[in-house]
Symmetry: C2
Subunit: 416 residues, 2 copies
Amino acid sequence: MTAALGFTAQGVCAGVKAATNAGFETEAMRKNEPQKPVSDKRDLALIYCERPCSAAAIFTKNLVKSDTILVSREHLKNGVAQAVIVNSGNANACNPDGMEKARAMCALAADALGVAEDDVIVASTGVIGQPLPLEPIRAGVEKMRGSLSRDGSANAAEAIMTTDTVKKEWAVELELDGKRVVIGGIAKGSGMIHINMGTTLSFVTTDAAVSAEMLREALIEAADVSYNMVSVDGDTSTNDTLAIMASGLAGNREITEKDEAYRSFTDALTLAFKEVAKKLAADGEGATKLLICRVSGAENIDSAKTIAKSIICSSLVKAAMFGADANCGRILCAIGYSGAYTDVSRIDVSYKSAKGEIMVCGNGCGLAFDEDKAKEILLEKEITIIVRLGDGSAEAEAYGCDLTYDYVKINGDYRT
Amino acid sequence: MTAALGFTAQGVCAGVKAATNAGFETEAMRKNEPQKPVSDKRDLALIYCERPCSAAAIFTKNLVKSDTILVSREHLKNGVAQAVIVNSGNANACNPDGMEKARAMCALAADALGVAEDDVIVASTGVIGQPLPLEPIRAGVEKMRGSLSRDGSANAAEAIMTTDTVKKEWAVELELDGKRVVIGGIAKGSGMIHINMGTTLSFVTTDAAVSAEMLREALIEAADVSYNMVSVDGDTSTNDTLAIMASGLAGNREITEKDEAYRSFTDALTLAFKEVAKKLAADGEGATKLLICRVSGAENIDSAKTIAKSIICSSLVKAAMFGADANCGRILCAIGYSGAYTDVSRIDVSYKSAKGEIMVCGNGCGLAFDEDKAKEILLEKEITIIVRLGDGSAEAEAYGCDLTYDYVKINGDYRT
């Protein structure tokens, strides 16, 4: 995320989760004394740009929102941001003092980084409905003062993880007006991931010069076929935030309209986001497999998307994939209740992986197939469910994961 | 189901599942020789009325439908039926010869029972996309010839079970015009259960005299707050059939309009269906707990239903209930993404069971609560999630179950 010119970052263990689990701010916290964290997991990150950036973000569509979202949205109204502060371990959602604490987080970051408070984007992720302990955050910001660097990206990526098992960092480069432009980012996923802006937190940086308006357009366009096509469990979080900041230090001519440069920039962003979407799905809570559902031959793009999403979200399909069971009935069933129209008698379905491809349904009917071959294909870590419709030429891809014992285990007792 | 005057039933083991798993009709089957079934589970049922009944049914809204549904719908066009034939072990869906075999099943039943073919309702449940083996069904019908009785209801209820662990039979009585009227039924549930006509198969009999049109109205009205409010896994089956037959033998004045008698009849049906809905949810695949979500104070009935359904369908809520984790965030989150409007700042949430009630959210904010007490409440087998909104006075109830290791296990390898 710090590959783009101008950006530095850091992440530390502030003890937010431990303090949240304790359920109250301890005496030591109130006195601003150092905390002895129960776990040494990083849980607080800062991202900083040496100059104010044009910036944009999209947020969860959940009616129940973390107050961080209201504050970030307000701060992004002018299309300018210079820093991000983000914690894991507590979502700061459904708390009576959520707004006050979201603002306090911005103030802490602004003070430590020397930027304007309203140029700070704030985000939180973790348990909902438990008061955010502010003292560990204050102490954590202090710890980071002066320590942000281009090497800090990995620490920041770690700090936003909750039940993620691997950190998600990425960077791509492209050329605009003969200038090398870099886009990079960090993301967290894992649970409470669904189609509507299907990520919890994702921060993107670039040194391209792009207007806030065009950043926003590019963000929406790229997210639509990536973050908006990922589902882990069908639950849309209260905290989803996907933010982008552009420093302009690459020196390209600023993108201010949907020209060729906009196209190149957005295509690169889209490609990168699709890879992130796969990473989020593959690291879904308890997941053992990445599922990609590719629908082609649909009447229109909406139908293609609706059908791909319906399949990837089906608990029965997800459980069958966990068991490497080449069930075609569940795929057809999920197509049938998706709400999109299709000519059932023209549906073909195959499963594909590194071990080959096997067709299990032709013209809407189950086919006899080699069960051993099917098993071999489905025991792989990445499975593509290929659905060919006979209605038109529209295509879509959705990303998900299998439903496993571990998903149940992780979510049977998340808080404790 | 045979408590209503005029009805008899039977269920036997015909070996449909074994033959389906074998994937083809064996030589013995083709020669109509007796089969040695692998399991002795009953899988074929007949229901018969001594006289033609007025009848109605509602079916799955899935675009992918078993051909049995097309045949039954056709046979019910005139509002008359006299028998039902139903098998488990194979859904007869997504097969090229499904229609032909659904008709053949009707012909077999008609011949054995001496009724008109087009007075037979046919239904199937089980694996999708594998050819229905007809020979075991032919042999099974033969076995039942002459053996239908008022004692056969339990056998029929057993024969329609798939992954159900308990059979669902019920009967209620009421008085219409001073006559004793009985309504009874059998149902199967367990998996692929969702809100849109959320059952796979359910057959209802009554000796009340009710016109086919009024039966249909009563069925829709009763299902709307019962079968349409149950979810196990969010998947709507290809075979859902809820059928009712009225023999008229109770001798009441036929119900032909929405009068007081219609109201009494429909209320009794509704109450019974709600109990069936709870049974279906409690016996959901892998379930250890029945979840009832009661929403009150909603702006209107649609909002109340939408919110109750969103909560009961949330994988995260379901997994938390399995773990007896009194998480309020997931409830608020599911309310927020339901799509219904509500004033978040006025939401109260409690958990209730035989061990008491505990409030975990007040005015949209998480509350501190006694974790030990909460655990005690949530370790019970029946949990009510109570959501009080501050938007109006509409109410709704939805029924579901927890998400468990066993759900994953059952569905990780359903076919084999």
